[in-house]
């Protein structure tokens, strides 16, 4: 996606309907055109698969963060009550695992949620100072935009435009970054 910030010239097909754009992705790909990305106002199930995006590995990150939370809680409780300052409260052993389960659970959830959301923001390049890369401002409202990077396609601009229109695009615009 480096060319996006450089001298990219894109053809943007604007669609009115989610089912049409999903079908269009398959048609355009079948015709041998490389699609840069599709922008939609809401998630369309199956669109990422149709575009050939790999399955997200966010779950792995979530698991690792959860594990770090569990470890932190285990170490914290074991160090404070089992080693640093042993105390017998309520007739329980100074280190007694079962009563630590609530704290272990909460820290697991906390670390997992914060870590995963942080990973999500970083991996998608999202942040408060990020300028959004918008191919069409209406894609957060009611339009679906399919962006095609002309520098990565051998087909002529006119042919791609024709293809987009025949796949159901209501309009085709040129966008230069």
């Amino acid at each position: 996606m480096a060319d996006v910030n450089g001298n990219g010239k894109f053809l943007v097909g604007i669609y009115d309907d989610d089912d049409v754009v999903l079908k269009a992705v398959k048609d355009v790909k079948q015709a041998g055109v490389r699609i840069h990305e599709v922008y939609t106002p809401f998630p369309i199930h199956g669109l990422d698969v149709a575009l050939g995006h790999p399955r997200s590995r966010l779950g792995i990150a979530a698991f690792l963060f959860a594990l770090s939370g569990t470890t932190t809680a285990l170490l914290l409780t074991a160090y404070t009550e089992g080693f640093d300052w042993p105390m017998i409260v309520g007739g329980k052993d100074s280190y007694s695992f079962p009563v630590y389960i609530p704290v272990i659970f909460e820290l697991t959830v906390l670390f997992c949620a914060l870590g995963m959301v942080g990973t999500f923001l970083v991996s998608n390049g999202l942040g408060p100072t990020v300028k959004p890369l918008m191919f069409d401002l209406r894609t957060t409202d009611n339009k679906f935009a399919m962006a095609i990077d002309l520098s990565k396609n051998k087909l002529a601009e006119g042919d791609i435009e024709q293809l987009l229109r025949s796949s159901g695009a209501a309009e085709v615009n040129v966008k230069q970054f």
Binding site: D19, L47, V89, L114, S123, L126, G127
Partner: protein, 475 residues
């Protein structure tokens, strides 16, 4: 795309298009504040200012300004805390558990319900700070080493578990709510006309552009967050109930407390959601999105959880008799027939009898009935916590120390403070952020709309989605 049975009633009425959803929800974020909003906000701020002054006086003078005595060391403070935390359970239940159960009606109400959750938890936390008496030492509840002035916290104490549970719940709910807001904030950003709002909503929406890859990861993340929040929401009120259940006070050390508290929390939370949504849908003209179907679905949840609570009350009584522990029996007989009988019967009437009226279809689809009964339920749930806390404490093992609790002006004013805080925050949310999740409502329009107008789809031509033509794009 999903194919919806014709039996299912529509969740979005009025033949709304995607653009209509954006327009109807963004309208009041972009427009000037309405007169109703301004009046409500002014009242809330005045109440908040009065309450803040009273809370500061409580801290300045000390907790002696409350009606506590040496027998009753917890009264309205913890009653209010448990009540607000309970209310804070509906939002996460709607957004997380109903997401896992694929309940589509969740989409129109989840945003406001989650906001309510966050503000309710803030109110609950304010009572924790209040009842500490010395809030500047609140950090003693955190696991910090001795050199900070205290020993390590006692990890065996349910009060410490509560610190972890409430703070985790607040953080995760806030994150879940905010992540849900990002796509809608981007919608507002792209519609914004003024430079200031484009800048503010631009920063808040974090550069979201709705690419297919981001959406796919976003959905994956939402699913995991929902999976995390589901046990979390159950754990929070479970741990709150441990504050009582792990003690040896008759009427408190009951093993059914965790499920009973969780059911009660969802019960009162849904009642509060009903109250807020019934006002929002009229004031913001969102009747096409928050329909009678939504109200009815939530009333069904209220009936279910209200019945669980009713069974729990009866079980407690049965166990008190069956255990043959005379102190336990006395605690319950005293609740029902002692000097606090009125609180007990207020609780029984409001919580056990009133939700049963929702078995009638007419009542559970009536806006007036729903609003009234929701208020009644929340009064009842406040009395439930009062009954559990005060009537269990006021007559202990030593008859010479029996006492009654009399609320003072500051008990009442500090409770009023929390209403000022809650409504001020909620009204700010309702004005400056989209109260309905636009992206999620757009995603269910095809499967759940009353009828599809031509502009949404070239495929359906005004038919409902029972049309198998919608299936053809899905392998």
């Amino acid at each position: 795309m999903h194919v919806t049975s014709a039996v299912r009633t529509p969740l979005v009425t009025g033949g709304k298009t995607y653009a209509d959803v954006t327009e109807d929800v963004s309208r009041q974020v972009e427009g000037r504040p309405t007169r109703e909003w301004t009046i409500a906000f002014t009242i809330s701020v005045i109440v908040l200012l009065y309450g803040t002054a009273c809370v500061f006086w409580t801290w300045w003078e000390g907790l002696g300004v409350w009606g506590l005595n040496k027998t009753i060391g917890w009264a309205w403070d913890i009653t209010n805390f448990v009540w607000w935390v309970g209310i804070g359970h509906a939002g996460t239940l709607i957004s997380a558990i109903l997401l896992l159960f694929r309940q589509k009606w969740r989409t129109a109400v989840n945003r406001a319900a989650e906001a309510m959750t966050i503000f309710a938890v803030i109110c609950a936390a304010s009572f924790i700070l209040m009842h500490m008496g010395r809030p500047w030492l609140a950090y003693w509840a955190l696991p910090l080493p001795n050199t900070w002035g205290s020993l390590w916290v006692n990890f065996k104490s349910p009060l410490v578990w509560d610190v972890f549970a409430i703070s985790t719940y607040f953080t995760v709910s806030l994150v879940f709510w905010y992540m849900g807001l990002i796509p809608d904030l981007a919608t507002i950003r792209d519609r914004a006309r003024s430079k200031v709002s484009r800048y503010i909503y631009g920063a808040l929406s974090m550069g979201w552009n709705g690419s297919a890859k981001t959406w796919a990861r976003y959905e994956y993340m939402s699913l995991i967050l929902a999976g995390l929040s589901t046990p979390l929401v159950l754990s929070v009120h479970t741990i709150v109930s441990f504050d009582f259940a792990t003690s040896v006070i008759p009427g408190w050390h009951t093993t059914i407390f965790p499920p009973y508290f969780v059911a009660g929390a969802i019960f009162s939370g849904f009642a509060m959601v009903q109250n807020l949504m019934l006002i929002i849908r009229v004031v913001f003209k969102l009747e096409d999105y928050i329909t009678v179907e939504h109200i009815e679905s939530m009333n069904k949840v209220i009936t279910l959880t209200g019945s669980i609570v009713g069974v729990a009350y009866l079980t407690e009584f049965f166990i008190a008799w069956y255990s043959q522990v005379e102190f336990e029996s006395y605690a319950f007989i005293n609740r029902a027939t002692g000097p606090y009988w009125w609180a007990y019967w207020a609780m029984m009437t409001c919580n056990v009898i009133s939700p049963q009226l929702f078995w009638s279809r007419t009542i559970r689809r009536s806006v007036v009935w729903t609003f009234t009964l929701s208020v009644v339920v929340n009064i009842g749930m406040w009395f439930e916590r009062f009954v559990i806390i005060v009537t269990s404490l006021h007559r202990d093992y030593l008859p010479s120390s029996w006492a009654m609790f009399h609320p003072t002006l500051f008990d009442i004013s500090d409770y009023i403070f929390s209403f000022g805080l809650f409504f001020t925050l909620f009204l700010l949310f309702a004005k400056f952020l989209p109260v309905v999740n636009m992206a999620e409502v757009k995603a269910i329009i095809k499967s759940s709309s009353e009828k599809l107008p031509k502009s949404v789809s070239g495929v359906a031509k005004g038919e409902r989605v029972t049309n198998p033509a919608f299936n053809k794009n899905v392998e």
